[in-house]
């Protein structure tokens, strides 16, 4: 077999130039985080971080983002399976619809949720008649955050499903396994890396969600004021607190990325 190799000098030149750009990019990303750390009132850190408002917001953030990650998983797997495995005419339409929240400005998503599920929204009456009211509740915050972060789960699972060697599923079928057994015992274990990546991405996106939450669920202490909302609130009143909260978010996000996204980082 013959192969055309690019001239070595061309490759070497690109290999010298592009890493420089990559290095500059990494510095530009790192700079604001470092600035944040330098600006932080470390002396008051303990007091700021243990104030009731901060602890509340942190707890709420963990609840909302974890709830959104779980909900995204429950919705995301069926959607990803349908996109990856079922052939039907509207497949690209479905993909466009479920990925739309990714490109939609989050605040628009929040307003749209309000129009649909708000008290005077399209389905607000129906929900109220069965005793459900989403806006300005923690459940509402979970819905808003899920709306924005679920596409990350769907994308991750769909690419995971497309990467599976389906012969193993066929082997399981010849051993007598029906569809659900194949999914439970063959597909899900094989999908573990994609599941981990999906959860990490979804959870991280959920943790930082601001626009949709503030529009749909408002910023109520103990109910919907998650860390990002608390930061926004603090920006106008107590900049030191805002910076400390910001660093707290950075730390949590990095931890998630390192714990769950290990495979993504090292591949």
């Amino acid at each position: 077999m013959t192969r055309t190799t690019p001239t070595p000098s061309g490759v070497l030149a690109a290999n010298r130039v592009l890493p420089i750009v990559a290095g500059v990019a990494a510095l530009l990303i790192l700079l604001p985080v470092v600035a944040l750390a330098l600006r932080a009132p470390w002396r008051d850190a303990a007091g700021l971080l243990t104030s009731p408002g901060v602890l509340d917001a942190a707890k709420l953030s963990l609840i909302v983002s974890t709830g959104a990650a779980v909900l995204s998983l429950l919705i995301g797997f069926p959607v990803a399976w349908t996109l990856a495995r079922v052939e039907f005419p509207g497949r690209s339409v479905l993909r466009t619809v479920v990925l739309m929240p990714m490109v939609l400005p989050p605040i628009v998503g929040g307003v749209a949720l309000l129009a649909a599920f708000g008290r005077n929204g399209l389905l607000g009456g129906v929900l109220a008649s069965v005793g459900i009211s989403l806006p300005f509740t923690t459940a509402g915050a979970v819905v808003a955050v899920t709306f924005v972060s679920c596409p990350f789960m769907i994308l991750s699972l769909e690419s995971g499903l497309n990467g599976l060697d389906r012969r193993f599923e066929r082997a399981a079928e010849t051993l007598g396994a029906g569809g659900w057994t194949v999914i439970r015992r063959i597909v899900l274990p094989a999908l573990a890396p994609a599941l981990r990546a999906g959860i990490a991405l979804t959870w991280a996106r959920a943790l930082g969600e601001f626009g949709a939450t503030v529009a749909f669920a408002g910023s109520h202490p103990h109910q919907t004021r998650t860390l990002p909302l608390a930061i926004y609130d603090a920006l106008s009143t107590d900049l030191d607190a805002a910076v400390m909260l910001g660093l707290l978010l950075v730390a949590i996000s990095l931890a998630v990325l390192l714990v769950l996204g290990g495979r993504m980082l090292t591949r």
């Binding site: 193993f168 082997a171 010849t174 007598g176 396994a177 063959i186």
Partner: protein, 356 residues
């Protein structure tokens, strides 16, 4: 208790056509070159490829009739894949217990069955290993145990020995023969290796370009091959022709052109026949042979193979292609190389003739 199959199956532009019946207890081997349709056959039987028309009936149960396709999980057809496809996240035992477990057998009983088959195949001590920690031969045994633990009515082994090195292969073949002898259902081995097919099979299904071209016992196929691949399987020259009488002699006029002189007892002129000549009955010489009783063809050497200490010489003699088997010494004396011009001669009495 039997398998009845009449299959028309399509995959892309490839079409498979085959009609055959297999009895339990008999080890059947489907053999053919790559792309001949034997893997497509295996998938159609296992329910991994729906057939277009025909029927597959196993012990009275219709598995497929071209309209209703019983899913693979309900067929009771065991399948050992060429690439084994052991589940990497499960131990050998969990792999072996997967089949029973999937069909509703309680966990403890499923594991007991899995362990029984691992023991039977001599890999019981590896029950806790993951497939990644098994050698090729060990993985092969676990895969076979996994297929057998489902207690299938039809067992298909796709290229069971081809992935193994020579030493493991001989050992695994012995084990395979022993285990298969005890297996009560219908059993079908898929292979591209003619030697393996002749050695293992009690009944052969010979495939060529999507067709089942011949079936029978190895002995039947050895004595009367009816297809080019079957002939190469048993290593004989196969010709197609029509009987003709003239000058007080009998000839086979070959479809490809040319004619062979044969002994003329009890044959009817005009009949379409096969003619076979074993390569070791073909004599090569540089000068034209003088004895008139011989058939003689003048041709060009197109290639040579070394097989078991003998040399096979392929000769293009105009429309006829013929293979001769000679000793390395003879090959050296004749100075044989591609392009050499030689005479190939053989006695009329060395030609086997039988109806098409």
């Amino acid at each position: 208790m039997s398998l009845d199959a009449s299959i028309l199956a399509r995959r892309g532009s490839f079409t498979l056509q085959a009609e055959f019946a297999l009895e339990p207890g008999t080890l059947a081997v489907a053999v053919g070159p790559n792309g001949s349709g034997k893997s497509t056959l295996a998938e159609a039987l296992a329910g991994l490829l729906p057939i277009e028309s025909g029927r597959v009936v196993l012990n009275g149960r219709t598995l497929d009739d071209g309209r209703q396709h019983l899913p693979a999980c309900a067929r009771r057809v065991g399948f050992m894949f060429q690439d084994l496809l052991l589940f990497a996240h499960m131990s050998a035992l969990d792999n072996a217990a997967f089949g029973p477990r999937s069909t509703g057998v309680p966990r403890g009983e499923a594991r007991r069955r899995g362990r029984h088959w691992l023991d039977r195949l001599g890999v019981g001590d590896l029950a806790d290993r993951k497939p990644g920690g098994l050698s090729g031969g060990q993985a092969q045994r676990v895969a076979l145990a996994r297929a057998l633990a489902t207690e299938p009515e039809l067992l298909i082994l796709d290229e069971p020995l081809s992935a193994l090195d020579a030493r493991t292969r001989a050992e695994t073949r012995r084990l395979l023969v022993g285990v298969l002898a005890d297996f009560p259902g219908v059993k079908l081995v898929i292979t591209h290796d003619p030697v393996e097919a002749m050695a293992l099979g009690e009944r052969l299904l010979v495939f060529e370009s999507g067709r089942l071209v011949q079936q029978g016992t190895p002995d039947e196929i050895r004595r009367r091959p009816r297809a080019d691949y079957a002939a190469s399987l048993v290593g004989v020259n196969l010709f197609r022709g029509t009987l003709e009488a003239g000058d007080g002699r009998v000839f086979v006029v070959l479809d490809s052109g040319g004619r062979l002189s044969i002994p003329g007892d009890g044959l009817r002129p005009g009949e379409a026949v096969f003619a076979t000549i074993h390569p070791h009955s073909v004599i090569l010489s540089i000068e034209k042979p003088s004895t008139s009783a011989r058939n003689a063809l003048h041709g060009v050497v197109s290639g040579t193979d070394a097989i078991d200490g003998r040399v096979r010489v392929h000769l293009d003699a105009g429309p006829v292609r013929i293979t001769a088997e000679i000793t390395p010494n003879a090959a050296a004396e004749l100075d044989i190389k591609p392009g050499s011009r030689l005479w190939a001669s053989f006695k009329a009495t060395d030609i086997g003739v039988y109806p098409r």
